[in-house]
């Protein structure tokens, strides 16, 4: 492989990886605050993808469609937590079972409404951009830039706003946070809402680089899990690093061998990390939450 090919493979990997990072980050926020691994994350993401597609074709404006989906996803996330997951606080395993039930519901609805054929969303940008050796489709550049903007926004939210600080505090110690006057229950609703919003944004972006079908949710969920665990469960930065790493490894696997080999490689990465560094690549102060 020549140098520009290697660079192309890595850049491609970073693009898919940035979407994986968003998925992992959403899962991490929910997991860190609620101790619930939301198994329906991938399906909620696809719901956002299909809704963006439908709204885009209906209104003709990509940005309007994304804005509507983002608002709806935030509301749905908060709603799911208030109605369902809030009942499962004492036993996280109940939350897991609820999310397993949600998978069946959302996937069935997607299948019935939009059918099993893979789809692409017509992207708002087109063309090819060249950086020295690397030829990059504009869609991929768009995905990367969008992800960076989203990640900066989330980082500012977590570090600079009162709600963000309260959210991190509640994740670290719910008791201490609640003694400091934080309404932990509300913060949990917020975390679920933000997590679902991130899934929805990832969903709106993913259709630009991958054809989307209802069964895609499972594999995206697994990638999100791997990002969550590899990064050191509970660490937002870890989830982002984990997501990017998986993207690059997958891209290398696909270019050298095949899609199956790429999946086996990612699972292998998880097992290696688990074995040698059970707390993840980026360990949080309190250690792994898993």
């Amino acid at each position: 492989m020549s140098l520009d090919q290697v660079l192309t493979v890595i850049v491609n990997g970073l693009t898919t990886g940035s979407i994986y990072a968003l998925i992992g980050l959403g899962l991490t926020l929910i997991f860190g605050l609620l101790d619930i691994v939301n198994f329906a994350h991938g399906q909620l993401l696809l719901l956002a993808t299909y809704s963006t597609f439908a709204l885009y074709t209906a209104t003709g404006s990509y940005w309007l469609a994304v804005a509507c989906v983002a608002v709806a996803a935030t509301a749905i996330g908060a709603g799911l937590d208030v109605v369902l997951f809030a009942r499962a606080r004492a036993a996280p395993i109940t939350g897991l079972l609820i999310s397993v039930g949600l998978i069946a519901i959302v996937e069935n609805v997607l299948h019935e409404v939009w059918g099993p054929t893979p789809r692409d969303i017509p992207p708002p940008v087109s063309g090819v951009i060249e950086f020295g050796f690397v030829r990059l489709p504009a869609t991929r550049l768009f995905v990367m830039v969008a992800t960076i903007v989203i990640l900066i926004a989330i980082a500012l939210f977590l570090k600079r706003t009162k709600a963000g600080v309260a959210l991190r505090a509640a994740g670290e110690s719910p008791e201490a946070a609640s003694l400091m006057g934080v309404s932990v229950e509300r913060i949990r609703h917020l975390a679920f809402a933000v997590g679902t919003l991130l899934a929805a944004l990832a969903g709106a972006l993913i259709a630009m680089i991958l054809p989307v079908e209802p069964v895609l949710g499972d594999s995206l969920l697994v990638v999100g899990f791997i990002a969550l665990i590899v990064g050191g469960a509970g660490s937002p930065l870890g989830a982002v690093v984990g997501g990017l790493l998986i993207g690059v490894i997958e891209s290398i696997g696909i270019s050298l061998w095949s899609g199956t080999a790429a999946q086996v490689l990612t699972f292998g990465l998880l097992i290696v990390v688990f074995y040698f560094r059970p707390t993840g690549i980026v360990s949080t102060a309190q250690g792994s939450r898993l």
Partner: protein, 346 residues
């Protein structure tokens, strides 16, 4: 009342009900009823494998789909040209599944809660991924199961075990053997150790019970049962694809086990009868049957965590004035995780 309750909860009554139901289905049922009965029994056996690792050992495993896929495809691939005996293929599947469970178990069973669930899920998905890209297993299109389990001949009467009636009998026997084995294991040292670890790991470990060793043992048994269930499930369906063993299977599996009563020996059987019976026979929802079963799972989890047998036992305890067994934590939402399900007195 008390005597009635005692009899009602005794295993003999449960076994008699089971035998009568199987006999009734085989004698009076039309072909659809017999097929549904076979499906119920296959899911019950599959559910029992989950009950062993989740109900008894307290670790929610999502690898059961993967183990069953191994059993199913062992039979389908090895018996394709009828060169290898069906039962030998079943055995090969079980050995493979058990070997895998040892490897996965030693790496992951130290992990608690989600990490174990996620790792086992990944194991399952990996198996499915490998099967979909494996030529002899028909890739994504799937393959016909052309295996024959043989026939029973007594004098002039004979029964082909591959027919639907024969399958119901075969599955009923497999369920019986597994449940009797479970009942026996509940009373052995190893079985008590496994339950003790679920209840209070530090305490059990301080008394010299090796946590990893006994959990891996439970996982091995559950893998063997899951593989057997997969082989017989494949025989019932007669056509299998790798996607049968995807995440959806686990939704149904978990629903069966929780609905029947997690940790109860007969729980998966009762749960499968109600859940599979409901979704198969009534064909509720038509196109939206998946969504309905998902909603059903959520309702069960939120409002009937103890399952049918748990509610039944609670009712009997109330009638006979018996106090419920002492628990460390009385929080009702902790039920699923800590529920002992009174497994030791079914």
């Amino acid at each position: 009342m008390k005597r009635l309750a005692v009899h009602f909860s005794s295993p003999i009554v449960a076994w008699l009900t089971f035998a009568l139901a199987v006999a009734a289905f085989c004698t009076f049922g039309d072909s659809l009823a017999v097929y549904v009965a076979a499906l119920i029994l296959a899911w019950a056996l599959w559910g029992t494998s989950l009950n062993i690792i989740w109900g008894y050992a307290g670790a929610l495993s999502l690898a059961q789909m993967g183990f069953a896929a191994i059993g199913a495809f062992s039979v389908a691939v090895l018996c394709k040209d009828e060169q290898i005996n069906f039962w030998l293929a079943v055995l090969v599947g079980m050995v493979l599944a058990v070997a895998l469970s040892v490897v996965v178990g030693y790496v992951t069973l130290n992990l608690r809660g989600f990490a174990f669930a996620v790792m086992t899920l990944i194991t399952s998905l990996l198996i499915v991924v490998l099967l979909t890209s494996w030529e002899p297993a028909g890739r994504t299109t799937g393959m016909v199961v052309a295996a024959s389990p043989g026939e029973i001949i007594i004098g002039s009467w004979s029964l082909d075990l591959g027919s639907d009636q024969g399958l119901v009998i075969l599955l009923a026997v497999a369920n019986t053997v597994t449940l009797v084995l479970c009942g026996w294991l509940e009373r052995t040292r190893a079985g008590r150790f496994v339950v003790a670890l679920r209840e209070d790991e530090p305490l059990a470990a301080s008394l010299g019970v090796h946590p990893l060793k006994y959990r891996v043992l439970a996982f091995m048994l559950s893998a063997a049962v899951a593989s057997l269930a997969g082989s017989l499930y494949a025989l019932t369906l007669k056509f299998i694809t790798p996607s049968l063993f995807s995440f959806h299977a686990s939704v149904t599996l978990i629903a069966c086990v929780v609905l029947g009563g997690l940790g109860y020996r007969f729980g998966p059987l009762v749960g499968a009868a109600v859940y599979i019976g409901l979704t198969q026979w009534l064909h509720v929802g038509g196109d939206y049957s998946d969504a309905l079963s998902g909603a059903l799972l959520i309702v069960i989890v939120l409002f009937a965590q103890m399952g049918i047998l748990g509610l039944l036992k609670q009712g009997i305890d109330k009638l006979t004035g018996k106090q419920p067994a002492h628990r460390h934590d009385e929080s009702p939402t902790d039920e699923l995780e800590t529920q002992t399900g009174a497994m030791t007195h079914d």
